[in-house]
């Protein structure tokens, strides 16, 4: 018998909308911060890893798409190794702070606004078509471009590994998943 669906079983729609909206108005990218803050706050306040298998829209989306497109092959062992998971978390955080610093440089007037989305931290795509006409400071837009780059890149990585291996391979090396597991390990002394 199929399990009764809850409201949070439809959060994959929110994740899909998030990616789509970034093509129309880059300021929506700010909403992605919720995907960083909610799991972190949950793990710090006793919610443990509840976000991952209940509220993660990206995970749900990968499960759904995986039913049709995944080769469902075992992942290479190195992806689930600690050095790769922690290394990817460290790399991801470095890139996040790098992006925040770029935002600061625009805020300080040192750099001008760059209306580009950078995929895989390397390939800059012109994204001026999604630049908002709202009267907001340039640094607000710069953060949105940078954050959307991060979200689009991680979605792309999730999709590629979903096709090549198991549907939710992304969950194995998801930086938020690794970080919240570390929080739980520290909190519950394991």
């Amino acid at each position: 018998m199929a399990k009764k669906k809850n409201w949070y079983d439809y959060l994959w729609i929110v994740s899909t909308l998030y990616i789509i909206l970034g093509f129309f108005n880059i300021l929506f990218a700010w909403l992605g911060l919720l995907c960083f803050l909610i799991p972190l706050v949950m793990s710090l306040t006793g919610g443990k890893k509840g976000y991952c298998n209940r509220y993660c829209g990206r995970g749900q989306l990968l499960t759904l798409l995986g039913k049709k497109f995944s080769k469902n092959l075992p992942i290479p062992k190195w992806i689930s190794s600690k050095w790769f998971r922690y290394g990817f978390l460290a790399f991801f955080l470095t890139m996040f702070f790098n992006m925040t610093f770029s935002t600061y440089l625009v805020f300080a007037g040192t750099n001008s606004l760059k209306e580009v989305v950078t995929l895989l931290w390397s390939f800059s795509l012109p994204w001026h078509f999604a630049s908002s006409s709202a009267p907001v400071a340039h640094w607000v837009k710069q953060f949105a471009f940078g954050f959307y780059s991060l979200m689009l890149t991680s979605t792309l990585l999730g999709l590629v590994t979903m096709v090549l291996f198991r549907p939710r391979t992304w969950c194995v090396y998801c930086p938020m998943g690794t970080m919240t597991q570390l929080v739980c390990k520290a909190k519950y002394k394991e």
């Binding site: 209940r54 689930s80 291996f165 198991r166 597991q181 739980c184």
Partner: protein, 66 residues
Amino acid sequence: MKKIATLSRNACVSCGCCETACPKNAIEIYNGIYAKVDQDRCIGCGLCKKACPADIISIKEVDSIG
């Protein structure tokens, strides 16, 4: 003999995919750190093994207790 799911706690990424897949609610993510299988509830159906993205679950035969 009875079939049950077993896993390496150290290798678990605690994503919860197995917990969601289990039809008997026999798995919980213990303190957000690793998946813990309730051996009494587990029927060894293998749905958790299929759902685990890290491939750390195996189905083993054990002597049934009681």
